[in-house]
Symmetry: C2
Amino acid sequence: MSVTAAKGFTAAGIVAGIKENGNPDLALVVNEGPRRAAAGVFTSNRVKAAPVQWSEQVLKSGQVSAVVLNSGGANACTGPKGFQDTHATAEKVAEALGRGAIEVAVCSTGLIGVLLPMDKLLPGVETAAAQLSEHGGEKAAIAIKTTDTVHKTSVVTKDGWTVGGMAKGAGMLAPGLATMLVVLTTDADLDSETLDRALRSATKVTFDRVDSDGCMSTNDTVLLLASGSSGITPGYEEFAAAVETVCADLGRQLIGDAEGASKDIKVEVINAASEADAVEVGRSIARNNLLKCAIHGEDPNWGRVLSAIGTTSAAFEPDQLNVAINGVWVCKNGSVGEDREKVDMRYREVHIVADLAAGAETATIWTNDLTADYVHENSAYSS
Amino acid sequence: MSVTAAKGFTAAGIVAGIKENGNPDLALVVNEGPRRAAAGVFTSNRVKAAPVQWSEQVLKSGQVSAVVLNSGGANACTGPKGFQDTHATAEKVAEALGRGAIEVAVCSTGLIGVLLPMDKLLPGVETAAAQLSEHGGEKAAIAIKTTDTVHKTSVVTKDGWTVGGMAKGAGMLAPGLATMLVVLTTDADLDSETLDRALRSATKVTFDRVDSDGCMSTNDTVLLLASGSSGITPGYEEFAAAVETVCADLGRQLIGDAEGASKDIKVEVINAASEADAVEVGRSIARNNLLKCAIHGEDPNWGRVLSAIGTTSAAFEPDQLNVAINGVWVCKNGSVGEDREKVDMRYREVHIVADLAAGAETATIWTNDLTADYVHENSAYSS
């Protein structure tokens, strides 16, 4: 159901010919109203793709009528021409829908440093506009895939209102986020300030804590659009919880489909002095290549966890650290704990708990193992 | 030649039986005087191995008579018993040489979280002491190898005095540093303060700028011992330059033998506003897994260089960045530059220049590509 699960939205996904392999590569999501409130969060990478620069401007008004997304090219590091192309894409959507271009957000994903084939993209916009449908959410989710092996959607329905969404992303996944593109929609009747608050609150503990390979993309974008067509205004807490649930579900799907991964690793940091400490430690563990290789080899190598913790500035005493892997406390008080032979690592999901023994705060970061397939996929991607 | 190239040093490398495969695993380096001045730098990882904790204390006096090094076990995260074992090792060396234990530095390398087999290590110390020789430097260099495929030594000889050394390290190589162990010796007649100044100055621009996999070890140690037996006191600048040359040579050898690597990558950041900016950007590029995969695939993927630069806090404007790969400016002004087809990446050494166009400072970081062999070696290491 994806972005059309909520009432008041139409979508389409088509083959524009941007991808050489002939797969779907252009998606359009339209907010049919009555409300067109929106919020967005974008990559914190200082090298921002043209569509990010454009969409950041669009979101300033808190109004978005449509989102056009293409795979097959990131339109990043493409200079003034790249920005002109993004602008022309928004204009084309506006023309097809009879709206203003400044209400059209643009997202792109694919190889950096290559101009988009506008001779294919612009006619594609017309085709997509002609195919808009209340049942188009699935096709839109398929059209934004790059190296994704599956398309990702999620829906939460409450009393008369719904939050749904789609996501793409499989590599270059890190906080601030993966040539990760996410479009969420809701038919709840809410203003853009409320959407913004709920979206930032949700992404902070979901997409920002997904870190597949430590690499931050130039294109990451998460948008939340509200049509108001349910006529219902849910309470903030209830709405924010629904948004967080959808974001967490999509984030988990991104990790589950990360390039070349064979393990999904949940890094849970507990008893930290602050949430910031917990996040710093979790991220350091999640980015440790040696640990990620060990997990790939089903080796509960807790020494590499301690090595990673030791590089942080978090509050802890080395001789009070405890580490559990899949429920076995293999490290106690910074030294050898329970027998590592007890650790069962046969399954795809691996759970690492790092106990800092320094407070009461916690954070969870999701990551993947590091595999020969990841190397292969990313050494051959642009060729 | 290694650590016995300089006069006034003896060394040995033997099989103590710590390694199950029967390879040499214990080295002893002795300063025969007349001077026994020394300086050391240690891992900045807050989780420090027992031998690092011990040797930091030893170095406080600026006097070191001997260094005992074992491979086959890092003695890290081993609790109070691990520290007692390090102490007992130093006592054993002191007894064999007729010195005080507080003049004996200890280095260990190998798996974290495992106690050393003291029943093998202590008799090994006696064997090594009995085999000390002015020609033992090569054997010592061999005995400290873990996953190293070659042993690493370097010597610079000036007018009547010499700086020589040995190093081990092949993975977990990052600033502050790789279960990297380095022992440098000189027969120059210098006090420990001068040695310390020259060593810190050299490591800052050599070992601290070697970053194979971003993983900082719990055991890294670099020691510089002076025997004074040449009777010559060189000028500081000349001496510091010799130490830096030996450190740079050994650092380059570490990168050249990094686990599973097929490319040695020189990341040169130029026109930075500050040296700190240049180092931050260089390290961010050197740690980008996606770029490291691309280089492995001989793909001059400059977009991933820009992505990495964009995550830093260095001074730059995205539309003024330039990137050259092996002499071809593939990115100009943050966008497409010269034809990437011109880049020849067939050779092991790859040279990336990142021009921040923000000042006049520069820094060079050495790293490696990311390969399936790295994954294989590090997913099977502890088994």
